[in-house]
Amino acid sequence: MLTFTIRRLVLSVPTLLFISLIIFLLLELAPGDPMAQVPLTVPPEVKEKMREALGLGQPTHVRFWKWLVQFFWIEPQVMIDHYFGTTYAEGDLRVISWQTRSPVMDIVVQRIPQTLWVVGTAYIVGILIALPIGIYSAYRQYSVFDQCGTFVTMVGFSIPPFFTGPLLIVVFSVQLGWFPFIYDTTHKVTDWDSFVYQFRQMILPVMVLALQTTAQISRFMRASMLDNLNQDYVRTARAKGLSEAVVVTVHVLRNSMIPVVTVIALGMPAIFGGAIITEQVFSVNGIGSLLIGALFANDLPMVQTLTFIFAILIVFFNLIADILYGILDPRIRYD
C-alpha cells in the first residue's frame, strides 16, 4: 500500500507539470492582448515597455520556467514566512496579477474561504441527505419510496444549477421573502443574530449545490446497496439470526460504502468547478467568480494559477480515491 501511494505520488508530479504546460500553452496561443485596454494615444515604444514590465518580453519557455519557479518554489516559501515569521521569500518576485498588480495567491487566499464555506457545507449536506435515501430506496426496491426517490434524483440530476438557482430565488426570495438572494461576503458572524443571518443567506446556494450532490450520490448508494443485498454473506447473516437493522447497517452498508466513498472523493473537485455557476447566480465572491472576472479582464497569470489550482484538486482527490479504495477494500491489492 505504501509503495503504491508513493508511486502514485511520484507519478502525479509529471501529470501536474504536463497539465500546467497545456494550460500555459493554451493561454499563450490565445490571441488576447493585455495591452488592448491601453488608450491608442500611448506611443508604441511605451507600450513595449509596459509589455516588458508585465514580463511578456521573454520567450515562452523562459516565462513558463519562471512561472513554475514562482508557483512551486517561491509561493510555498511565502506561506512558510507567513506562518513562522521567517524571511525566505523576501525580495523574490511572486506571481503577479495583471488586474490588481498584487500577488495572485494573496487574492486566492482571500477568496477561498467564501467558496469553501458554501461548497463545503453544500457537499456535506448533500451527502447526509443522499445516503439515507439511497440506503432505504435499495432496501425497499420498487416500493413507492424507491420510485419517488429515483424520480426525484433523476430530476435533480437533470436540472442544471443555473436553472434551479433562479427558480429557488423566485420562489423563496421573491415570492415568499424568506431568504436574501445575494450572498453578502462581507458579513461577519459576531453574535447570534448575525449567525442567523449567515445561516439564512447560505441556505439557497447550499440547496442548489446540494441538489446536484444528492442526486448523484444517492443513485450510486442505491446501486451499490442493491449489488450487496443479494450476496451470500447477507443470507448467512440473516440465517444466524441477526436483526434486520444489524444486517443492513453493519454488514451491507459497510460493504456498499466502499465505491460510494471513492465517488464522494472524486466528486470533490467537480463540485469546485460546478460552483462557478452557482457563485455567479448568487454573487458569492469565491474563486469561481474570481476566475470569470480574470478571464474577462484578460488577466492571464490569475487564470493560469486558478485553472492550475483546479487541476491540483482533481489530481489530489483522484489519488485519495485510489488510496481509499485500497484501504477500504481488502480484496483490492495494487501490488
Partner: protein, 315 residues
C-alpha cells in the same frame, strides 16, 4: 441423439434488436423520454416553418406581453393570442425564440455528441486493438480526465472567440468552437468503455477466425468489432447528448456563448434573470425546456442501458 435430418429451425431466428425493443418497452420512463426527445427534436426542426414569426423581429408596441396561460389566474394580464408565449422587453416573440433557441441547443448537443463519440470510439478501438498504442493512449486519457474541464472550457471559449468569429462569422465560429471544445473535453469515458470491450472481444474465436482467413485489421475492426461495441456506445451517446446540452447552456448562461442577438436556451435564461421578479415565465420556459430535454435524454439512456444489457434482458 439429436435429430439432424431437419437442421432448419421451424421459426425464424429472433433478431437481437427485437428483444432489445421488447425490454426497452418495459421501461416506461425511457419510452416517455424517447418520445419527448423525438417530439422536441421535431418541434425545433419543423416548428419554425409552422410558427413563422421571425425570432429577431422587434415589435416595441407589443413588448412585455405575458404568456397566454397567465390570463387563467390574472385576468388583468397583458396577453395576446398573436404571442401565446408572450414577448420580451423588445417585443420579440417568446415562442419563436424558444424554437430558434432549441434549434441551436439541440444542434450543438447532437454535433458535440457525435464528435465525442467519434473521438472516443476511435481512441478506444485503437488503444484496445493495437497493443503498442494502448499505453500511450490510455495515459493521454488519464491526463485529459484530470484536466479541469469547466475552467478550461471558459478559458478556451473566451480567448479563441475573436479569430474564429473573424473567419466563420459570429454564429458559425461560435458553433464550431463550442462543439469542438465540448468534443475534445468529453470523449474520455467513451474511450475507456470501448477499449475495455475491445480488449475482451479481440481474444474471441470469431476474431481469430477472421484473422486466420486473412482479414485485414481495418476490416476486422469495421465488420467484427464495431458492431459488437455498439451498445456501450449508444449508452454513452445519450449521456454525451445530455452533458453537451447542459454545457452549452452553462456557457451561454455565463455570457461566453453565442452572440447576444442569437437565441439559445441558456442565453434566454441568462437574459431573463435580470427581471425575473416581474416576468418569472421568461426564466421558467427556457429552463423547463432545458431540464425536460436533459431529463428525457437521461431516462432514454437508463432504458437503453437496461435493454442492451443481456443479463437484464433475459429476466
Amino acid at each position: 441423439m439429436t435429430d439432424l435430418s431437419n437442421p432448419v429451425p421451424l421459426t425464424k431466428p429472433r433478431s437481437q434488436w427485437l428483444s432489445v425493443w421488447d425490454q426497452f418497452k418495459q421501461h416506461k420512463g425511457a419510452l416517455m423520454g424517447g418520445g419527448f426527445l423525438a417530439f422536441i427534436t421535431l418541434a425545433v426542426l419543423i416548428g419554425p416553418y409552422i410558427w413563422t414569426l421571425d425570432p429577431q423581429k422587434l415589435d416595441i408596441r407589443n413588448k412585455d406581453l405575458r404568456p397566454i396561460f397567465n390570463a387563467i389566474w390574472d385576468s388583468d394580464a397583458k396577453v395576446s393570442w398573436a404571442h401565446p408565449f408572450g414577448t420580451d422587453n423588445l417585443g420579440r416573440d417568446g415562442l419563436s425564440n424558444l424554437l430558434a433557441g432549441g434549434r441551436t441547443s439541440m444542434a450543438v448537443g447532437w454535433a458535440a455528441m457525435l464528435l465525442t463519440l467519434g473521438i472516443g470510439t476511435s481512441v478506444g478501438v485503437i488503444a484496445g486493438f493495437f497493443k503498442k498504442l494502448d499505453g500511450p493512449l490510455m495515459r493521454l486519457t488519464d491526463l485529459f480526465l484530470s484536466l479541469p474541464i469547466l475552467p478550461l472550457l471558459l478559458v478556451a471559449v473566451t480567448l479563441f472567440r475573436q479569430p474564429l468569429r473573424a473567419n466563420f462569422g459570429p454564429e458559425g465560429g461560435m458553433f464550431i468552437l463550442i462543439v469542438a471544445i465540448i468534443g475534445i473535453t468529453s470523449w474520455m469515458p467513451t474511450a475507456r468503455i470501448v477499449r475495455g470491450d475491445i480488449l475482451a472481444l479481440k481474444e474471441r474465436e470469431f476474431v481469430l477466425a477472421a484473422r486466420s482467413i486473412g482479414t485485414r485489421p481495418g476490416a476486422i475492426i469495421r465488420r467484427h468489432l464495431l458492431p459488437n461495441v455498439i451498445s456501450p456506445i449508444m449508452v454513452s451517446a445519450t449521456l454525451g447528448l445530455a452533458a453537451a446540452i447542459i454545457t452549452e447552456s452553462a456557457l451561454s448562461f455565463l455570457g461566453v456563448g453565442f452572440p447576444s442577438d442569437f437565441p439559445t436556451w441558456g442565453k434566454m435564461l441568462a437574459d431573463a434573470v435580470q427581471r425575473m421578479e416581474e416576468f418569472p415565465e421568461r426564466v421558467m420556459l427556457p429552463g423547463i425546456a432545458i431540464s425536460l430535454t436533459v431529463l428525457s435524454v437521461n431516462y432514454l439512456g437508463d432504458g437503453l442501458r437496461d435493454a442492451l444489457d443481456p443479463r437484464i434482458r433475459g429476466r
